[in-house]
Amino acid sequence: MSDAAFPARAATPARTAAPRGRLLDGPAGVAPTRRMNPKRIMVYGGLIVFSLYYLLPLWVMVMTSLKGMPEIRMGNIFAPPMEITFEPWVKAWSQACTGLNCDGLSRGFFNSVAITVPATILSIAVAAVNGYALVNWRFKGSEVFFTILIFGAFIPYQVMIYPIVIILREMGLMGSVWGLVLVHVVFGMPIITLLFRNYFSSLPPELFKAARVDGAGFWGIFLRVLVPMSLPIFTVAVILQVTGIWNDFLFGVIYTRPDSYPMTVQLNNIVNSVQGVREYNVNMAATLLTGLVPLTIYFLSGKLFVRGIAAGAVKG
């Protein structure tokens, strides 16, 4: 998807709108020179040192996951494997034990998919409609509720987790995947609503008025006029929600049972289980498997991911 697809977002405060646009376009100055002077060397040197700090853990993960246990015991965690083996990956996926289950991370993977897909779709659907109502169909008190919603994003989850257990139990959803989906919809609402509210208020109001004159109603305008022109912002929301929900640990461990644990909870149980011989290569393969989905999204989405978190950052 090209950057040209994004219209400028006029409604975001000018101070933040300008840098976001510039960030996506890259630096606007003259092209970099080939000349190397001490200052440039320091700049690149600093960046390379930090890049090593960021990349080494990834390197160590990949290398360890491709080694056999004897080689790990003898060698150096930074060294590439002398003999590449994919056995740890197979074992992490289909045999690693958590408690009584020994069917590997695959169970957690499919649980995470079963949680992430509906939670992403529902939370975005709800938040998009919220944002639309907040911009185009204001009613008395709508801004008050929105302000509460935004401040709610800063309340530590620990304050709300237990009453939610009671609510879910009353609804018969405690321990089920759907209960967790509901929790993700609720806690994803502030940021995604903000995202859509800012986007919709940046669209020209004439669009809305023209559709009204043509006789379109609440849902007609939303589905036929706004949604088709909001694909970029939907993409940003999907990126934000998929990575956020996939990476969740706290809600997963509280609101699901062992057989429906998401991948992060299962990974923690595999790695930090006290009994048994520690198989570091299997642990690292399991870690990579768990990180694979968000990392893939990150590397594929590139600038859209940055845009998503930039939007999230402005929420303060």
Binding site: S51, Y54, Q158, F208, K209, F249, L295, I309, A313, G316
Partner: protein, 297 residues
């Protein structure tokens, strides 16, 4: 026109109200209702099940006399201050480096930000492996000939915070960098031109002119980082499980363990109420500051 004027009746604009019901319920039932519920029950002696048997402040008295809570607060304070200062410093430094019209800017930014896409559990597990005393950093340095070298933060109560910091900053500094870079790019070119005309050195311009201009950006970063610090939980679970002993316990873990492990709900409620109070102490001044300047969210 729906945009103009407040509706006269409850049923006017009913579709919008219906569509906003999830938001209204979330705001009122979860964010306000559940928080108040927890605050109220923190004054009771609930153990296995919540009971409205009020005991005044005794949960709080017990909380503050529990060594594990004291350690948790101390850890959070040390971790919080270090993480805040280091993240801001590294974030600003990296943003300045990235802003030097360099080659491969996208590449460097991708590298710096990728851990932010990972779960804290993944981050914790990786750093646990790198800091493993028998195979990780300590082992490598020793095998290079420094046989007396000792660096085992995961098993040293005095150093374990370092492990949390290394992992936490690895995961989170990229976000600060990206926000600061956006802030730097938002500074008017004329400022730079003026500084150049006056012959002010680049580094001086950054520290004495650009830095003060970035106050709002810093404020945003501080709020984001602080909110993350108070919620610190997953990373501790994955990296140290609170150990060695109780050396790396944090308040969020105290809450979880007392609510769901020790079946002592009252303590969990009191501890979580303290967390809420801490957040309010940060958010309210910030909100007043922002509202005072300009009304927008």
């Amino acid at each position: 026109m729906a945009r103009s004027g407040p509706p006269l009746r409850l049923f006017q604009n009913w579709q919008a109200k219906l569509a906003a019901t999830p938001m209204i319920l979330t705001a009122l039932v979860v964010f306000i209702g559940c928080s108040l519920w927890t605050v109220v029950y923190s004054f009771t002696n609930s153990r296995l099940l919540p009971r409205l048997d009020f005991v005044g402040l005794s949960q709080y008295e017990r909380l503050w006399s529990t060594p594990r809570w004291q350690v948790s607060i101390e850890n959070l304070a040390i971790y919080g201050i270090c993480a805040l200062v280091l993240t801001l410093a590294i974030g600003f430094l990296l943003a300045v480096l990235l802003d030097q019209k360099i080659r491969f800017e996208d590449g460097f930014r991708t590298i710096i930000l990728f851990p932010y896409a990972l779960s804290f559990i993944v981050t914790g597990v990786v750093w646990q492996w790198i800091l493993n005393p028998d195979f990780g950093l300590q082992h490598i340095v020793r095998s290079m000939g420094f046989s007396g070298f000792t660096f085992d933060p995961l098993n040293d109560p005095n150093l374990v915070i370092l492990a949390l910091l290394a992992a936490g900053i690895w995961q989170g500094a990229g976000l600060t960098t990206v926000i600061m870079l956006a802030g730097l790019r938002g500074i008017d070119e004329d400022v730079w031109k003026a500084a150049r005309v006056d012959g002010i050195a680049t580094w001086k311009t950054y520290i004495f002119i650009i830095l003060p201009m970035m106050k709002p950006v810093f404020a945003t970063c501080i709020v984001l980082i602080s909110a993350g610090i108070i919620k610190l939980y997953d990373l501790v679970v994955a990296l140290t499980r609170g150990g060695p002993g109780i050396a790396s316990e944090v308040p969020a873990k105290y809450v979880y363990d007392y609510m769901f492990g020790n079946q002592n709900l009252g303590q969990g409620f009191a501890a979580s109420t303290m967390m809420l109070a801490a957040v309010l102490a940060i958010i309210i001044p910030f909100a007043l500051f922002r509202l005072g300047r300009k009304r927008h969210v």
